[in-house]
């Protein structure tokens, strides 16, 4: 997929000026509210008309003010998943799913109802009306409906913002499963760095109606560490849980990690750990209450705002810790330094994300 955008759009005092090329199968659009993310979506989908400029998808023009081309939204073949599911209330789940498929020309039909229903696990919902589905179920149907229209590009405009945390991560695994299975290029729009990192590797950061950066999600996350109140979120895949002395011990690529025994035991999963919750020691501290003390090597250092990020290597694992620049000087931390990282057992938080291929049905109450 290649999307080229050179557009100008004015709304009162706000102006959106974009000049960018997006290549690859997945790209994030990141920015605070009011940065122009949703406007970008509307321009690409044809729901808003730029004042001037050009929008090209895979070389073919969607809009070109020079040659007076403005393809209507129904002919662009661009699917959208909105923040709200926006399902048609007068149609059943099946009717909603088929709405786009029926209007897709036979030569473009690649994804059929049966395979989509399997991937998104929609079978039990098919005959139901959309008004008594739960929030997560509705969003799953909305994703299915957009995907079944067999779009050239899928735009996801904050599709998780209206959901609670638990559902958010379940829907992410559905989104990833569906995009991977059917190989649909997508733009993922969000103001959440965590969502962004779970969904895409490339990202465009918007600020004040302009492109502030076009980079990797990882780089952007590190750059924003010092600005974010939660720091940098390390994402760790933990496996093979065993119980040991009232705690859960997980295997991780960087070694073993001790976590408090949870209410619900899981054999593993994705956990988050803030860069602020890691304390670094130059020498082995003899007595410490933190349950995890890991010997590690400094790979690199980076500055972010008033903070200093320290990239640590533990076997195959990587962790980012943050310190103040003065501490880096005092401890003489340079690439190659050997350090001890202390992490409290309670600093880890499990993301309720289903494993690929075993997406859990959501079961929160209706309403």
């Amino acid at each position: 997929m290649e999307l080229r955008l050179v557009t100008h759009k004015q709304f009162g005092a706000f102006s959106l000026n974009l000049d960018l090329v997006i290549q690859g199968e997945a790209c994030g659009i990141f920015g605070p509210s009011g940065s122009g993310k949703s406007t970008l979506v509307s321009l690409v989908a044809g729901l808003l008309r730029p004042d001037r400029g050009r929008i090209l998808l895979d070389g073919s023009p969607l809009f070109d003010s020079g040659s007076r081309i403005d393809m209507p939204p129904d002919r662009r073949r661009i699917g959208i998943v909105f923040q709200q599911p926006s399902l048609f209330p007068h149609l059943s789940v099946r009717g909603n799913l088929l709405y786009g498929l029926k209007r897709c020309a036979p030569e473009h039909r690649r994804i059929e109802l049966d395979s989509l229903v399997r991937v998104l696990q929609l079978e039990p919902l098919l005959g139901r009306g959309v008004n008594n589905l739960s929030g997560g179920e509705r969003q799953r149907v909305a994703i299915g409906r957009a995907v079944l229209s067999n779009p050239r590009l899928l735009l996801m405009d904050e599709p998780l913002s209206a959901l609670d945390d638990h559902l958010r991560f379940q829907i992410i695994s559905h989104l990833k499963a569906v995009c991977r299975e059917f190989r649909i290029p997508f733009l993922f729009i969000s103001h959440s760095m965590l969502e962004m990192r779970l969904m895409t590797e490339q990202v465009i950061a918007l600020a004040g109606g302009r492109v502030a950066a076009q980079t990797t999600t990882e780089h952007l996350a590190r750059e924003r560490m010092g600005l974010s109140p939660v720091g940098y979120i390390n994402l760790l895949r933990l496996e093979d849980m065993r119980l040991e002395g009232g705690a859960s011990v997980y295997r991780w690529e960087g070694g073993e990690l001790v976590l408090p025994r949870g209410e619900r035991e899981t054999s593993g999963g994705l956990f988050e750990l803030s860069s602020k919750d890691i304390i670094l020691f130059k020498r082995h501290p003899e007595a410490i209450s933190a349950r995890n003390l890991l010997a590690c090597t400094v790979v690199s250092l980076f500055e972010s705002g008033s903070r200093m990020g320290v990239e640590l290597a533990l076997g195959q694992g990587r962790l980012i810790a943050e310190i103040v620049p003065a501490a880096a000087q005092d401890l003489n931390i340079v690439p190659g330094s050997q350090l001890y990282a202390a992490i409290k057992a309670s600093a880890f938080r499990k993301l309720a994300m289903a494993e690929p291929g075993e997406a859990q049905p959501d079961s929160e109450p209706v309403g």
């Binding site: 989908a45 044809g46 729901l47 209507p72 939204p73 129904d74 002919r75 662009r76 073949r77 661009i78 699917g79 959208i80 909105f82 709200q84 926006s86 048609f88 209330p89 007068h90 709405y99 786009g100 209007r103 897709c104 008004n131 409906r145 957009a146 229209s149």
Partner: protein
């Protein structure tokens, strides 16, 4: 207890027939006008808005008189219809046209209220899913406007039962042909000893209005159950 003459019965029937015909004929035009006023972007939208709403504020007699000119022997519409062999003035058809014009703004207003309550995201979703403007109109906007269409129809039908000023000018007051309930009441009220009959017809009029409102209420309740 006064007994109704055949002319009185036919006044009741003509009232119902004229109101029903005016409502049914107006429905597609009302829907289209509401759509254009709600979603259209075109030059002259304000003019259309004013034109549609004008009968609401104009005296019905003025509308009747303008229709009389338009439908008369020298009016372009009257001539066109006459050449087709369809006489209009002083027939029940004229009563239908007068009723339709007078009730039209009420119908358009009710449909618009329903139409503008539709979540714009649904329309955008339908367009992005490949539906053209007409497709979207028929498969999303129309089904979601049903409540407004019902409300508009009921309002117009009820208003039509009471139409007087415009009707008497273009359709006259011919018993058994164009005489509706209000025209019959007018006749009785202006003739000596007609009071009991005028009152009896008033009761019929009240009963019809109450029935229409009850049906509307019932339909509304059933529709909100479906939601």
């Amino acid at each position: 207890m006064p007994t109704f003459s055949p002319a009185d019965y036919s006044a009741i029937l003509i009232s119902l027939k004229v109101s029903l015909a005016a409502t049914v004929i107006s429905l597609p035009f009302g829907f289209l006008a509401a759509y254009l006023l709600s979603y259209g972007r075109f030059r002259g939208k304000l003019a259309l808005d004013v034109l549609v709403n004008l009968p609401l504020t104009l005296p019905p007699v003025v509308i009747g008189y303008l229709l009389l000119i338009l439908l008369g022997r020298h009016g372009w519409l009257g001539r066109a219809l006459a050449s087709l062999g369809v006489p209009v003035l002083f027939t029940w058809r004229a009563a239908v046209i007068a009723t339709a014009v007078v009730g039209f703004p009420l119908m358009v207003r009710a449909i618009r209220v329903g139409m503008e309550a539709i979540d714009p995201r649904l329309i955008q979703a339908s367009r992005a899913l490949g539906a053209g403007p007409v497709d979207c109109l028929l498969t999303v906007i129309l089904p979601l406007s049903v409540r407004g269409l019902v409300a508009g129809s009921v309002l117009m039908f009820a208003r039509g039962l009471g139409e007087f000023g415009a009707t008497i000018i273009v359709a006259g007051n011919i018993p058994g042909v164009t005489q509706t309930i209000p025209l019959a009441i007018y006749d009785y009220a202006s003739s000596p000893g007609g009071d009991p009959m005028a009152l009896a017809l008033c009761l019929v009029s009240i009963a019809l209005s109450v029935a229409v409102l009850l049906i509307h209420e019932q339909l509304g309740r059933r529709m909100s159950r479906l939601d």
